[in-house]
């Protein structure tokens, strides 16, 4: 049923269609604008759930393929397709996109422009996960940068850093990273052209070619710089906490939730898949940097007082787990990295939604200003608890599955580093529990008595994201088997035996 329709294009362009409709509405029509934004993201969410269900796991590989030749002399096609790695991330995008619309329900100024930019942003992020063409991948990746900038400077907050500074820092960091990435892509394209004699941007076709080792190392390094910056790899993470602090709630949710994951996804889908030997050479370095993420960012968290900075640095720290999972380059660890990206996305989005809501009402994000909020705002408190406990990897919630799988996979390759990484969990527990305790529990503070608890549209992010956190933790088998089908294919195609052998002999740290 689904295979006859261009269902991926529909999912992808639904938010854009919503944005186009909003463009033609007068800006005073606030309610229709919000409803259209909510409807279009809901349709995308529903379609991606359908795709999740309808994807044939026994068959594996790219499905729901669409392919239209686009720029012949560059070998570019408008090519879409999803597999076990991209479906969870597509689902994640739409879960967060839909929640982000509701988290922005109270936006007061320039509502029309806000939702147009937000919808473009959601489509842009989704496009990177859906396409199987390198050119289109990069195109979607860069499409999101400018809407984010505009969203930050127009609707952001200037609590600790000015929003202009935060927006520009975020933008320039990501763009400079993308310059390296694009150089790598062009080098790859030209090299592939000279090897095969036909220009092609198709990721699978590029992966089928044999590139010389030196070229692979060099190009992978360029790409790792680009993707690493996006994933806030230590020491290129400085944009992340400032950017999240300056950004409006919806942007923090999407940015921390999905946009960062483009980095991890790109490392797997493009880096490892096309340049396996390069990946293998650089992986130990990435693993070391990953420890920098995990430990360094977690220690910074210990001394932060601003809620957004705590979650911002904690997301930098968590990306360390994803990175070490990717660096270990085996089936288990890559599975773990993908599920961790999904889990962290849902958790971070929920966290930012709760913080955004609290900030909107109390106009402060300082931990010391709060206390005993569970008395006044029990629903908000349960959202905070859920996100916090997921963040520290409580068994029974989806993040535990990710961290556990990563450690199992990574331990085989990097023993000492993995042990240090596990210690990072202790630090996470310290700062998360302390923050939750300071903000939510303790004696009731009367100055916050007038705060309203979550209600109406504000509940949507909590319900949608919260139920995914629990569902994924209690019953991870389904999504894990899906991810495994995708990762397995990549690991097999790039020659698992080859990689295993070299790493087992040469990867002893």
């Amino acid at each position: 049923m689904l295979s006859n329709l261009p269902v991926l294009s529909l999912t992808l362009f639904m938010p854009i269609i919503g944005a186009l409709i909003i463009i033609f509405l007068p800006k005073e029509e606030i309610r229709p604008i919000k409803y259209i934004a909510a409807t279009s993201t809901f349709i995308s969410l529903a379609l991606s759930i359908l795709i999740y269900i309808a994807y044939d796991r026994s068959l594996g590989g790219m499905q729901f393929i669409e392919h239209i030749p686009w720029i012949a002399d560059l070998g570019v096609s408008y090519a879409l397709g999803v597999d076990g790695i991209s479906i969870p991330l597509m689902l994640l995008t739409n879960l967060i996109g839909f929640s982000a619309v509701y988290a922005s329900w109270k936006v007061a100024e320039r509502i029309k422009e806000f939702f147009i930019l937000l919808l473009i942003l959601i489509s842009g992020v989704m496009g990177t996960f859906l396409t199987t063409d390198l050119f289109i991948f990069f195109l979607f990746y860069e499409v999101v940068v400018i809407p984010i900038y505009l969203l930050v400077i127009m609707w952001g907050s200037s609590k600790r850093v000015s929003k202009e500074y935060a927006g520009m820092k975020l933008t320039i960091y990501l763009l400079i990273g993308s310059a390296f990435l694009l150089t790598g892509i062009i080098a790859l394209f030209i090299k592939a052209y000279s090897i095969s004699g036909v220009p092609s941007m198709d990721i699978a076709a590029l992966a089928g070619l044999e590139f010389p080792v030196g070229f692979q190392i060099f190009t992978f390094a360029f790409m790792a710089l680009g993707f690493g910056t996006l994933l806030s790899m230590f020491p290129f993470h400085a944009w992340s906490p400032d950017g999240y602090a300056g950004a409006p709630t919806a942007v923090s949710m999407i940015h921390a939730g999905v946009l960062k994951k483009i980095g991890g996804y790109g490392l797997i889908r493009i880096g490892i898949y096309i340049l396996p030997l390069g990946a293998q050479y650089i992986a130990p370095l990435i693993a070391v940097l990953a420890i920098g993420n995990i430990v360094y960012a977690a220690m910074i968290c210990l001394s932060q007082k601003d809620l957004k900075y705590i979650v911002g640095y904690s997301s930098v720290s968590h990306m360390g787990y994803v990175l070490i999972g990717i660096a270990a380059l085996n089936l288990v660890s890559l599975n773990g990295a993908v599920i961790m990206m999904f889990a962290h996305g849902v958790m971070a989005a929920l966290f930012f939604a709760m913080i955004g809501n609290l900030y909107e009402k109390s106009h402060t994000r300082n931990v010391d200003d709060f206390g005993g909020l569970a008395h006044q705002m029990p629903r908000l408190a349960s959202g905070f608890m859920l996100a916090g406990l997921a963040s520290l990897g409580l068994p029974g919630l989806v993040n535990f599955i990710g961290e556990f799988t990563i450690f199992i996979g990574a331990f085989k390759e990097y023993r000492i580093l993995t042990i240090i990484a596990v210690l990072g969990i202790v630090l996470t527990a310290v700062y998360i529990l302390r923050t939750l305790g300071d903000v939510l529990f303790g004696p009731r503070r009367e100055e916050w008595d007038e705060l309203q608890d979550l209600q109406g549209p504000e509940l949507v992010p909590l319900i949608v994201l919260g139920s995914v956190i629990i569902l994924g933790g209690v019953y991870p088998l389904d999504i894990m088997s899906l991810i495994n089908s995708g990762v397995e294919q990549i690991v097999m195609q790039v020659g698992l035996t080859n990689i295993q052998a070299t790493i087992l002999t040469g990867g002893s740290f």
């Binding site: 686009w70 763009l175 062009i186 394209f189």
Partner: protein, 470 residues
């Protein structure tokens, strides 16, 4: 030989002359109508040029050639002059009874460009270039009451004359070595001699002046800032494209890389131009100056294609030159509309533009982002072609510098965007740029977006145009 081969040139010249002849005795209102008629008839010439795109013929023993390369640029110049005039019909009302002279000179400048790109001979090329440049001398000083404009005219005259002399001297040295001025024959008779090197370097300086490559760019900021905005725009898009076309034809056809490797010099100049243009643009506070420095940087990107001198590189040059017309004219057209309303082109004049006129702010942002190479806009695809060419020729470092500099350019483009979107404006009255400007703006916007999303038609056209080089 039939009229048909030169129909574009003849009709353009006729329009220019008729405009001068018919305008005598008319009042200001009549002259304004006459200029509109001239723009409309230029549009017909454009259609004619598009229809006749694929014709090829060598005329006057190879002195003048009609080929798809030249035809591509003819279309470009006609488009540029039409868009510039359309977007400035409000602006040029200030010239009152001199309005027809102004438009006529613009048309003659376009005529010079057309001759320049169709020249098969160095002397013809020079004559075309002088027709263009002399028109610009007058045009840049057209606001004679304004001291900046007068200064711009004088500066351009002095510096332009020197650069013409250098170019001409270079050509004469080439003639001394080869005994011919016909471009296609120079390659055959080339001998490596010191005089040849001196000649090539001098031509490089002469053309470098026209395209404003570093270190021959010093004239650009003052003249772009002082000249009337339509002249600045046409200098930026037309004169520069003509310089590139002539540069390309002479260097690729007459000086084969196998015999004289100028590629590495181009690569170095391209890198310098990108770096200097972008870094200096960051500190500018006047939008005209900002766009002037950004246009220097743009020349650097296009030069990277010439340094590559392969299919992707050359195709990228043509592709980029065309999209540059739309994006730059769009940005300047918004600047014109703001200038007509506020009387200033300083950044503060743009404050709050998104509230006063959301369309102008959006078009300015999109055109600038296209110049910065952000997808899905035209500039991204153009840069992809150019830097693919550079990488293919082994200049990976050039591609890296170019792409990093593109991202640096986002900084100053976004600074202006920030002012437009969150700055506070003195007045909240909407800006109404007038029907013709709106038309030009929409053409620029749609072309910028369309070429970015579906580049195949333009890249096909560029492919057809460069087949004389491959």
């Amino acid at each position: 030989m039939s009229f048909n081969w030169l129909s574009t040139e003849i009709i353009v010249a006729l329009i220019g002359i008729l405009l001068l002849v018919l305008s005598s005795g008319l009042n200001v209102r009549g002259k304004e109508i006459l200029t509109k008629a001239a723009v409309a008839s230029m549009f017909l010439v454009l259609l004619n040029a598009i229809v006749l795109f694929s014709r090829e013929q060598s005329l006057f023993n190879g002195v003048y050639v009609v080929d798809s390369f030249g035809n591509f640029f003819k279309i470009l110049f006609l488009l540029a002059v039409i868009l510039v005039l359309l977007s400035s019909l409000q602006y040029i009302k200030r010239f009152k009874e001199k309005i027809c002279e102004f438009v006529s000179l613009m048309i003659f400048a376009a005529m010079g460009m057309i001759i320049m790109v169709s020249a098969g001979d160095l002397i013809t090329l020079y004559v075309g270039m002088e027709l263009m440049t002399i028109s610009f001398y007058i045009l840049s000083a057209f606001l004679l009451q304004n001291q900046f404009s007068a200064e711009a005219g004088l500066k351009y005259l002095v510096l332009g004359a020197i650069s013409s002399a250098v170019l001409l001297f270079g050509m004469s040295l080439i003639y001394a070595v080869t005994g011919t001025t016909v471009i296609s024959e120079i390659a055959v008779r080339l001998r490596t001699e010191p005089a040849l090197i001196a000649g090539v370097v001098m031509m490089l300086a002469g053309f470098g002046f026209k395209i404003a490559a570093v270190p021959f760019h010093m004239w650009v900021p003052d003249i772009y800032e002082g000249s009337p905005i339509p002249v600045t725009t046409f200098l930026a898009v037309g004169s520069k494209a003509a310089g590139f076309a002539a540069f390309l034809r002479v260097f690729v056809l007459a000086l084969p890389l196998a015999q004289f490797n100028w590629s590495i010099y181009m690569a170095v100049i391209a890198a310098l131009t990108m770096v200097a243009g972008n870094l200096i643009a960051i500190v500018q506070t006047d939008v005209k100056r900002l766009l002037a420095y950004s246009s220097i940087a743009q020349a650097g990107y296009i030069l990277a294609g010439l340094a590559a001198a392969n299919t992707y590189g050359l195709k990228g040059m043509l592709f980029y030159a065309m999209l540059y017309v739309f994006s730059t004219t769009g940005a300047f057209a918004v600047t014109t509309a703001v200038e007509v309303d506020t009387g200033s082109t300083g950044m503060e004049a743009f404050a709050g533009l998104s509230r006063r006129s959301p369309m102008l702010a959006a078009i300015m942002t999109i055109c600038m982002l296209s110049l910065a190479g952000i997808p899905p806009l035209a500039g991204f695809v153009g840069k992809f072609y150019l830097f693919s060419g550079a990488v293919q020729s082994g200049y990976l470092w050039l591609a890296l510098i170019g792409l990093i500099m593109s991202m640096v350019s986002v900084y100053y483009y976004l600074s202006l965007t920030r002012i437009m979107y969150i700055g506070e404006s003195a007045s909240d009255a909407p800006i109404n740029p007038g029907l013709e400007t709106r038309l030009a703006l929409w053409i620029c916007l749609l072309a910028t977006v369309f070429i970015g999303i579906y580049p195949a038609p333009l890249s096909g056209l560029a492919q057809a145009a460069i087949k004389i080089f491959i």
